[in-house]
């Protein structure tokens, strides 16, 4: 990502020459390439910014405009997000479609295999994390420019989405995933009382905290869509994101997390839908990991992050889904 590209774009936006310094690419995050940099204008204005743009090969196909609109919807509210600045759905500005947002200073994110990533602040982080999730679910999809959806379509639409991805990317027999899809199709849940904004990848690793118990920003909205809020809650509470703690997101006990989410969202957890979405979370995860492996298999990527996704999370979810299916019979 040449700094000259960014200087030219911001100079045109701000109407004066801009100098770019400190340009660095972040590691991880296969759905987007993420860079941070400092932009300084001739008149002395200085901004720490983050660029997220499409990579040549991605773990998931997503819509950058939807991500940008979601950030716009929550910027300045009690759901903490980075402030979005500019979006270009073409390749002219950033070399590929992408957008700029202000950097969240001092933030850190948990690693997948990191034990107790929040230390003694786990409960405080959990309270803020599940409160923010409840607030997202209290908002109507139209606030983020998402298309309307009938409640009865929420589960079938997501099932069809991931079934299509699985059929496109599978490269060997997957008996556990096949059995999971069959169970989901045969046991569709009742519709939610109303459709919500669903973040789509709400989990540990996708938010920033300050290391002292304060949630700074919810990130990675690239999979945002309208749907059943329990889709998000089940994904957030999946064991893969618990850092082997047995607590959702390695934060609070499950019952406490649900209670906080209910208070913030004004919704009540439906145990029938909850069971379905928890199975769905594992099936969705496996399809994502299979798609990552397919990128490597087809030679579209040699990114070790995609190899990691196609190996460690894949085997984790294959085991948890097999055990879950055993328990459902």
């Amino acid at each position: 990502m040449p700094a000259e590209h960014l200087a030219r774009f911001l100079g045109a936006q701000w109407g004066e020459p801009v100098t770019i310094t400190g340009l660095k690419r972040f590691h991880g995050g296969s759905a987007r390439q993420t860079y941070r940099f400092d932009a300084t204008t001739a008149s002395g204005r200085r901004e720490a910014l983050v660029l997220r743009r499409d990579p040549p090969s991605s773990l998931i196909e997503t819509d950058r405009l939807a991500e940008y609109r979601a950030l716009e919807a929550f910027a300045g509210t009690d759901v903490p997000v980075p402030q979005p600045l500019f979006c270009d759905t073409g390749a002219d500005s950033f070399g590929s479609p992408g957008f700029l947002m202000r950097e969240v200073a001092g933030g850190m994110a948990a690693g997948l295999l990191e034990p107790e990533p929040y230390g003694t602040h786990a409960a405080a982080i959990g309270r803020q994390l599940f409160t923010a999730l409840g607030r997202i679910h209290a908002a109507a999809p139209a606030q983020a420019g998402l298309p309307a959806m009938a409640p009865q379509d929420a589960a079938p639409a997501r099932l069809a989405h991931w079934r299509a991805a699985f059929d496109a990317d599978r490269f060997r027999p997957e008996p556990i995933v096949d059995a999971g899809f069959q169970w989901l199709a045969a046991n569709l849940p009742p519709p939610p009382p109303h459709v919500s904004i669903v973040h789509g990848d709400y989990r540990s690793g996708n938010f920033l905290h300050d290391g002292a118990g304060r949630l700074l920003a919810i990130l990675d909205w690239e999979m945002v869509h309208a749907g059943d809020p329990l889709e998000d809650l089940a994904w957030a509470c999946d064991p893969l994101w618990s850092n082997f703690s047995g607590r959702p997101g390695a934060t609070l006990p499950l019952a406490e997390a649900i209670s906080i989410w209910e208070a913030a969202s004004g919704l009540t957890l439906d145990p029938v839908r909850w069971r379905w979405w928890r199975v769905f979370a594992q099936v969705q995860g496996l399809v994502i990991w299979i798609s990552a492996a397919r990128e490597v298999l087809d030679g579209r990527s040699h990114d070790p992050v995609l190899m990691f996704a196609g190996t460690i999370p894949y085997r984790f979810h294959a085991l948890t889904l097999a055990r879950t299916l055993e328990s459902l019979k």
Binding site: M1, A3, L23, K24, R25, F26, H27, G28, Y35, L113, R172, P173, E174, P175, I176, D178, A179, Q182, W183, C237, D238, P239, L240, S242, F244, S245, G246, R247, P248, L254, W289, I290, A293, V296, L297, H302, D303, P304, V305, M307, F308, G310, T311, I312, Y314, R315, F316, A318, L319, T320, L321, A322, R323, L325, E326, K329
Partner: protein, 124 residues
Amino acid sequence: MSLPLPVMIGALAQAQANEVAPALQLLGHAGAPDANYAGGTAATSALMLMLAAAECAALPAREAAMAQAARALVGAAADGRDARMAALAADGSAAALALLAAEAEAEWQGIATPLGLPLPIPVA
């Protein structure tokens, strides 16, 4: 495993040449645009190399044991078995589900042991 071992080894070799080696050239150059990315790419690649080496050592014996277990549990479905196993599991065959769970656990242990990771812990 989802990513077949020969594919992973081949891709890792490509990654060493095309991504890790150039990334390593940037380490120590704080002002280089991708220096931050370089360390993460090299570390993840090293982790995957370690897992690939562990798989090379453990895979043949594990697959032989799984094939033997499959024959004992589901008879003829053990031969060229994956699609038939899926059908059995979807129909609620306790034996098929138990076998798939046992295989998945063995595959998890194959990578969890070198990494010092436990079995998945339920969130309940």
